[in-house]
């Protein structure tokens, strides 16, 4: 297991990036927190050295997205219905609308509602600023497919936000 200091530094440096990646998949904080903790558990258990800080960040984001996808699959397998989940896990749209900056949450919600692909590639391109070849390496997908996903994702996001012009 990695040293406590290394783990703490990683959370300080890339905790926000990992958190945002988790928000791509989960609306409720408890679920996103679980995914966040699981990601850093995997980081702690992985002793392989990273080439540089950017390498570490890319690794963390990739692990976070994979962890979220695995958790969602596990939830689907257990046939969890929204009615079964405790109310605390559900963050309703009404709650969001009362929060400050709700238009910003509208965009985060719209991103979350996109299918995957193209949502992960779109997020990595639009927010994290990765290029298509870099995203291709992160997601182990042909670069031309990444271009296609980004283009399709932008179109879908515009439609979701009603930005048709």
């Amino acid at each position: 297991m990695r040293q406590d200091k290394d783990i703490e530094d990683a959370i300080d440096q890339y905790g926000d990036a990992v958190w945002r990646a988790c928000l791509l998949y989960f609306r409720s904080d408890p679920e996103a927190e679980d995914a966040f903790q699981e990601t850093f558990l995997k980081f702690a258990l992985n002793n392989k050295p990273f080439n540089d800080d950017e390498h570490m960040k890319a690794w963390l984001i990739r692990v976070a997205t994979n962890t979220c996808k695995d958790m969602l699959k596990a939830t689907e397998k257990k046939n969890m219905s929204i009615n079964d989940a405790p109310e605390a896990l559900i963050c309703s749209r009404e709650d969001l609308q009362e929060q400050p900056g709700s238009s910003l949450y509208e965009i985060i919600d719209a991103m979350r509602e996109l299918g995957d692909p193209p949502k992960t590639a779109l997020y990595l391109a639009l927010y994290e600023g990765y290029t298509a070849p870099e995203i291709s390496e992160m997601l182990d997908t042909p670069v031309n497919t990444i271009y296609s996903w980004i283009s399709r994702g932008k179109q879908q996001l515009r439609e979701a936000l009603s930005w048709t012009n």
């Binding site: 928000l23 903790q37 699981e38 600023g129 042909p142 296609s148």
Partner: protein, 316 residues
């Protein structure tokens, strides 16, 4: 940075790690390191433990079932007078399967060659690189291919026939651009087809590029009634100019698409694609006669405030 990108960045800039999550995470990680836990496991730990237990139980059950089946199935002694008809039947079955396999090898398409100039068409090939189908993707291609009996020819012969046909020659002018995309799940076959395509392009007066693409991209291209190369170029152009649609791109030749992309990228001429598509077997092959700086400039435009980064060996 366009409006959409700006809006997404503003939205996610406002989303930070909740206060206290760092401490909760460090506490959770320290518990993972402890040999014994006094407090009951959290929902996450319970899920992790139960999943592990479930996997172990599943593996144990599989093992038990295998042993059970082994005990249940009795060994039957074959009787002497049944031996020869059974052998004959087995031989017939083997021949039938073999024959069917040979037939399937002849007809099963294992590779697709997409050609875009302005005629856009696709050749389907079997594992022996024999043309099994020809699919015209636009009217120009239909006219070109109408009287060309390419099915049954080898890939090389089909290309030779195309070059020497009067209906195709006008599209091979010096200022034209031909894109050849190879879609094939077999790495070796893909490599052979790529080599053949490159040799073919080198004999033509026009510019061109050849590369390996994915089946997924091919499916998407066909959904837009385009060849793979034209579809990729259209996507690139639409990234620069959101007012352009796929319908607009249908009427443009590869040369026109390339030139318009080059205008945005600030380079001269065509041939900016490096052709770095990956085959389904996982190898990366980028082959092109023309490799310009346009791609790198495109990447630089999207970096914004995040600066440059080194990417190598990302994986879990």
């Amino acid at each position: 940075m366009d409006k959409l990108e700006r809006a997404v960045r503003e939205a996610y800039d406002s989303a930070s790690m909740p206060i206290g999550l760092k401490e909760k995470t460090l506490t959770y990680l320290s518990k993972q390191n402890e040999p014994q836990r006094e407090s009951p496991p959290s929902s996450l730990e319970a899920r992790t433990l139960s999943e592990y237990q479930g996997q172990c139980e599943e593996a144990a059950n599989d093992l038990l079932n295998q042993n059970h089946r082994a005990k249940e199935s009795p060994r039957k002694l074959s009787k002497r007078h049944r031996k020869y008809p059974i052998l004959a039947l087995a031989a017939c079955l083997i021949l039938a399967v073999f024959g069917f396999g040979v037939f399937r090898a002849q007809v099963d398409e294992t590779a697709f060659i997409s050609v875009d100039i302005n005629p856009s068409f696709e050749l389907g090939l079997n594992r022996f690189n024999t043309v099994t189908s020809v699919n015209a993707l636009n009217n120009d291609a239909q006219e070109v291919l109408e009287n060309l009996p390419l099915v049954g020819m080898s890939f090389e012969d089909a290309l030779t026939t195309l070059v020497s046909s009067e209906s195709f020659k006008p599209y091979l002018a010096e200022d034209a651009f031909m894109d050849i995309s190879v879609v094939c799940g077999d790495t070796k076959q893909a490599a052979r087809l790529l080599t053949a395509s490159q040799s073919y392009l080198s004999t033509l007066p026009c510019e061109g590029s050849s590369h390996i693409s994915s089946r997924e991209l091919r499916d998407e291209a066909h959904g837009k009634n385009m060849g793979v190369g034209k579809y990729q170029a259209a996507l690139k152009l639409m990234e620069y100019d959101s007012t352009i649609t796929f319908e607009d791109c249908h009427s443009l030749s590869m040369r026109e698409l390339k030139d318009r992309i080059a205008q945005y990228e600030g380079s001269t001429g065509g041939g900016t694609e490096g052709g770095t598509s990956q085959s389904s077997s996982g190898t990366m092959q980028g082959q092109s006669q023309h490799q310009g700086q346009g791609m790198r400039e495109d990447q630089e435009q999207h970096r914004g405030q995040h600066g440059s980064r080194g990417m190598s060996g990302v994986g879990e």
